[in-house]
């Protein structure tokens, strides 16, 4: 991998954000709106917190962490869509850029987006609801890192589908992650799922992170088991989707789809 090719793509996206209000809003506006709406719903529901201890803590923490996963996925998929919309894929894939460098650049963009969104959401939560995300403690960082990687897994998978099926599949960029939300057990414990769905949820690393968060906040116990599952699943799935991405690129080159994907 060559660093200059990765930075070229990052710089290209930073140029884009520099003068695009809608793109900047995408980073600030939606997370802010999410937090305001769900934050007030949480405060309302908190009246019943005698039945669900630590409700506010669970819910707002989960909301912020879920948005990190969402933005991580978007960082990958939207960066690809930007190239698609600009009809720039041909320029990129006819250059010495490798698929691994392309992915590395989109992952770097994803980390930048997650960082900005996290700061915005954590700041707003503190300001509006006196909620401090750091209450999760030292486990926050491994949780976030794992959620970012889960976001990459979903992002690379979605990108491969859009590359394979063309622009009409671009709706997946926004909808795919929500397919994972019910089995990520963001706002409820895994045990509330039907047994057959619990088995599917177990294969989802995000579910272990949210379970882990509840373990830390509810019992104050270290979520070692949950984290171990998340790390193993993330590692396996990331290798799998990157291999899938390479296969998709090869398939698209064979079928001549790479030059037609933006049409």
């Amino acid at each position: 991998m060559k660093l200059h090719r990765i930075t070229a793509l990052i710089v290209r996206h930073l140029y884009l954000y520099r003068r695009s209000l809608p793109r900047i809003m995408e980073i600030f506006y939606w997370p802010f709106l999410d937090l305001v709406i769900w934050g007030f719903i949480t405060l309302y529901l908190a009246r019943y917190q005698s039945q669900v201890p630590g409700f506010v803590t669970f819910f707002l923490g989960a909301l912020i962490l879920w948005d990190m996963l969402f933005r991580s996925q978007q960082g990958i998929t939207i960066s690809f869509l930007e190239e698609l919309w600009a009809r720039n894929l041909m320029n990129l894939f006819a250059s010495p850029l490798k698929p691994s460098e392309f992915l590395a650049a989109t992952m770097a963009m994803s980390v930048m987006k997650v960082t900005v969104v996290s700061i915005v959401m954590a700041g707003c939560a503190l300001l509006f609801y006196s909620y401090n995300i750091l209450i999760v403690g030292v486990w926050l960082m491994p949780f976030v890192l794992n959620l970012v990687i889960t976001g990459w897994v979903i992002g690379v998978f979605t990108t491969s589908l859009i590359m394979r099926f063309g622009q009409e599949a671009e709706v997946l960029a926004w909808s795919m992650v929500f397919l994972f939300q019910p089995i990520s057990c963001v706002f409820y414990p895994m045990e509330v799922l039907p047994e057959w769905l619990q088995m599917i949820a177990w294969a989802n690393p995000a579910a272990h992170i949210f379970e882990g968060m509840r373990t830390v906040l509810g019992e104050g116990a270290p979520p070692i088991g949950d984290l171990a599952w998340a790390v193993c699943l993330n590692g396996t799935l990331l290798v799998g989707v990157v291999a899938w991405f390479y296969r998709t690129v090869a398939y698209c080159k064979d079928q001549g789809l790479l030059v037609r994907v933006g049409e």
Binding site: R5, R19, A86, A94, S95, P96, K253, G256, L258, V259
Partner: protein, 247 residues
């Protein structure tokens, strides 16, 4: 005899039952301009896309600088670039920003000087700070040409490079291409539907019809072989033959 910088052997591309390119072989020597001619659907674009590594050949091989494209993609594409009327560049970036990104992508050294040089060479100073979306089609063509020259390639693939340029700029571009070829032994694969331009620019011409090479030689050799008055008449002959065979 100097070895070819590009050697395509028995290049074939099939999409299902349709054969877009069928056993095409050719070479380009250092400093040579090879014209690729043929009616729409003859296989020119697919050939160029295979040479750029965007489409994988069904059969055959591509060697550039003595290296196999299928195994040395990165080293080869570092020394190759292309421009086409049909490509675009990121629309929300300025012309200068786009050139900087391309320069970084190819690891060009001293980017500021190189971008400045190319902007001057292609007379792009007046729209250098403009957002790409706001460029006229002629300015856009000059940007894609600048992108191609910026990386100082050894082989350039130009797909109708002067299609949307006014005659004055088109003439300057042709002069620039000839100058680059002379000064740096730049090899060029050139397509155009302007037959006078093809005669002027090309050292040799390859005619494609239904994915096959049907004629090869200098413009004059091809004209003489088919007993026509000029290259345009030869082109019309092949285009109508292809049209008849498809209907």
């Amino acid at each position: 005899m100097t070895p070819p910088v590009l050697k395509a052997s028995n290049l074939t591309k099939r999409f299902g039952n349709f054969t877009a390119v069928n056993g095409v072989s050719f070479e380009i020597r250092p400093g040579e301009i090879l014209g690729l001619l043929g009616p729409n659907g003859a296989g020119k674009t697919t050939t160029i896309q295979m040479l750029l590594g965007l489409v994988t050949p069904t059969a055959g091989s591509i060697h550039m600088f003595g290296l196999d494209l299928s195994t040395h993609r990165e080293e080869i594409l570092q020394q190759v670039n292309f421009s086409s009327t049909y490509i675009s560049m990121p629309q929300s970036l300025t012309v200068e920003e786009n050139l900087w990104v391309v320069a970084r992508l190819y690891g060009v050294s001293n980017i500021a000087r190189r971008v400045n040089d190319i902007v001057k060479k292609l007379e792009m100073e007046e729209f250098c700070g403009k957002i790409t979306r706001k460029l006229s089609s002629g300015q856009m063509t000059r940007l894609t040409l600048a992108k191609a020259f910026l990386t100082e390639p050894r082989i350039l693939f130009l797909d109708e490079p002067t299609a949307s340029l006014d005659p004055d700029i088109a003439d300057k571009i042709r002069s620039l291409l000839k100058e680059e070829r002379r000064s740096s032994a730049l090899s060029i694969l050139y397509t155009s539907h302007n037959m006078r331009e093809m005669e002027e620019m090309s050292d040799r011409i390859i005619f494609l019809q239904r994915g096959r090479i049907v004629a090869e030689g200098t413009a004059q050799e091809i004209i003489d072989r088919f007993g026509k008055a000029d290259l345009e008449e030869v082109f019309l002959k092949f285009a109508r033959e292809q049209e008849q065979s498809s209907s």
